[in-house]
Amino acid sequence: MISWEERLRHIVAIVDKDRRLPLWMWLTTFLIATLGFLFFLGPALNSARYYSQFSWKWYDSSLRLYYAISAGLTSLILGLTFARVHYGEVHRGTIRSIILYPVDMNDIAIAKLLSSLIVAAALSTMLFFGIFGAFFLVGEWPIADFLVIHVTALAMSFLALAVGVFLAQAIAHVAGRMVVSPTALGAIFLLLSVLFTETGLTAIGTQVAYLLRPSAGGLTQPAYEAIVAVAKALSVLSPHHVGARIVGIAFGLTNFWADFHVVVPLALLVFAGGYLLGKKLYLDIFIR
């Protein structure tokens, strides 16, 4: 039996290795963040000049917008960093060296998830401050509220990614081979978690309905309401819907239930299944 202490030591070692990014990645991110900062500095200064008499107030529409930006940013960065540390290792073959040590599939998955979370947190926060930093600097936007949005979006993106990774392990066990890689399924879940928000589904639904409409002209009100109803019903599947609701409740914008009665049990079920089946996987699944 491999003790928890030993497993933790392996996980920490892998995380410590993976969190070291090449210098060019830090420089590129810093450069993009700086350009973003400079780009938005003008609008921020104008905003400060003309609207300085108003204090910031959250509305449902503004929360949706800024949460969507954070969700998109964190999902993108998290997906890319996980692809680098997990798929990158499998693709380059370096995973073959790690599996020569007493680790199991879960140790590798947990270590890779944690390292991608650390790296994504650093990079996305850098970009976050690059994009919004000018508005914080001139005192227009409340930095703490925005950080809450960013952290919540990052946590929900991580949840979506982790579900995809552990589901890939469960599928691999059932199929006997890596039918879909954890990186690919993680990326699919990251995308779905953004698309399955109320806003995302409504946007997709209206576009599809518009394209499929029988004659020229716009959508009818009942059709639009039906799309919104379907979007609301399906959005309980998205971690980002839950995240936005939590933030909405925290900001006093809504009294609705946070809707985690679907996402959380489903995620726990996938984690438990993926973990237990992952324990039974032989590590040559990476090299077959």
Binding site: M1, I2, E6, R9, H10, A13, I14, D16, K17, P22, R92, G93, T94, I95, R96, S97, I98, I99, L100, Y101, P102, V103, D104, Y282, L283, D284
Partner: protein
């Protein structure tokens, strides 16, 4: 016994990689696994290291059942794979430190252990070199340093001497011998049978997933090869004439001052020197012919062609 495997079977969709493989490896033994490409050597190593699930059979390695605890087994092993994929962007020191940590070396001990391994493998001057910049031989030495870092009771070495120069091979053999003398064991695969004779204690020959021969070099040679000798004599013609009296399969001139004789029975070997002395022919040197390569050819080639044409 450090390894006890019985009836291991591994079936892939198109090929049976292991077919009822049974073997035992004792403590302090270097066990060589040989065979042509695709014979099942790598699969055997993978099954014994808990990386691949066997379809049938059982195996314990260092007292751990590989089917019950496949990942735990590797705590006791230092494994070198045939084609390593190191992290090319990191320095040798960081690479070894990482794997020392993975091998369970206490954090306070890692720098010292890394330094020890660097010195042992003669790559101290590459301490801060990136692995991607190293030559193939230096990479192989780094991989061997990685394997030697941990507290393994047994080493699984797949082609450990590939890409390593001759002087380093000699050094590595002595390092491995020293390691074995301290109670460790080695399961070793290689294509270089001649070189293996300097290090391997016992051989298993795999062919199409089956063990077709198992034993020490001496046992295998005496079982599978007829005794053959190369003699350096003072007078070849008189030597050939005298040696005709001994029952032989072949007797021929092998070059200037050289005679090759293939005997019918190993028991007749002492008669060679006696016969030549009686015939007043100087015997300058007598070398036994028949290497493990000849054993290999005898076992695996469809039409065996030993160098002296001497097979039982």
């Amino acid at each position: 016994m450090l390894v006890q495997a019985s009836g291991l079977v591994k079936q892939y969709p198109r090929v049976r990689a292991l077919d009822q493989v049974s073997l035992e490896i004792k403590e302090g033994e270097v066990f060589g696994l040989f065979g042509p490409n695709g014979a099942g050597k790598t699969t055997c190593l993978r099954v014994l290291s808990g990386l691949t699930q066997p379809d049938a059979g059982s195996a314990t390695v260092c007292g751990i059942d590989v089917r019950a605890a496949p990942n735990e087994v590797r705590r006791e092993l230092g494994i070198l794979i045939d084609i390593p994929f190191p992290y090319e962007e990191v320095t040798v020191r960081r690479y070894l430190s990482f794997f020392a940590e993975m091998a369970g070396v206490p954090a306070y001990d890692i720098p010292m252990k890394v330094e020890w391994a660097l010195t042992l493998l003669g790559i101290t001057h590459h301490r801060e070199s990136r692995i991607g910049k190293l030559s193939m031989g230096e990479r192989q030495r780094t991989e061997l340093a990685r394997v030697m870092l941990g507290n393994a009771r047994m080493l699984f070495l797949d082609e450990p001497f590939s890409n390593v120069d001759v002087s380093m091979r000699i050094g590595l053999r002595s390092i491995l011998r020293d390691w074995v003398s301290r109670g460790g064991s080695i399961l070793f695969t290689s294509h270089n049978l001649l070189e293996s004779e300097a290090i391997v204690d016992r051989y298993a020959f795999l062919h199409l997933g089956r063990i077709i021969a198992l034993g020490t070099a001496r046992e295998l040679k005496s079982t599978l090869l007829a005794p053959a000798y190369e003699l350096e004599v003072g007078d070849v013609d008189r030597g050939l004439a005298a040696l005709r009296a001994i029952p032989h399969q072949s007797l021929e001139r092998a070059g200037r001052g050289l005679v090759r004789i293939g005997l019918v029975s190993r028991d007749d070997a002492p008669r060679i020197a006696r016969t030549l002395v009686e015939a007043n022919v100087d015997l300058l040197e007598m070398r036994s012919l028949g290497t493990m390569e000849d054993v290999y050819s005898r076992l695996t080639l469809p039409t065996p062609q030993p160098p002296q044409g001497l097979t039982r």
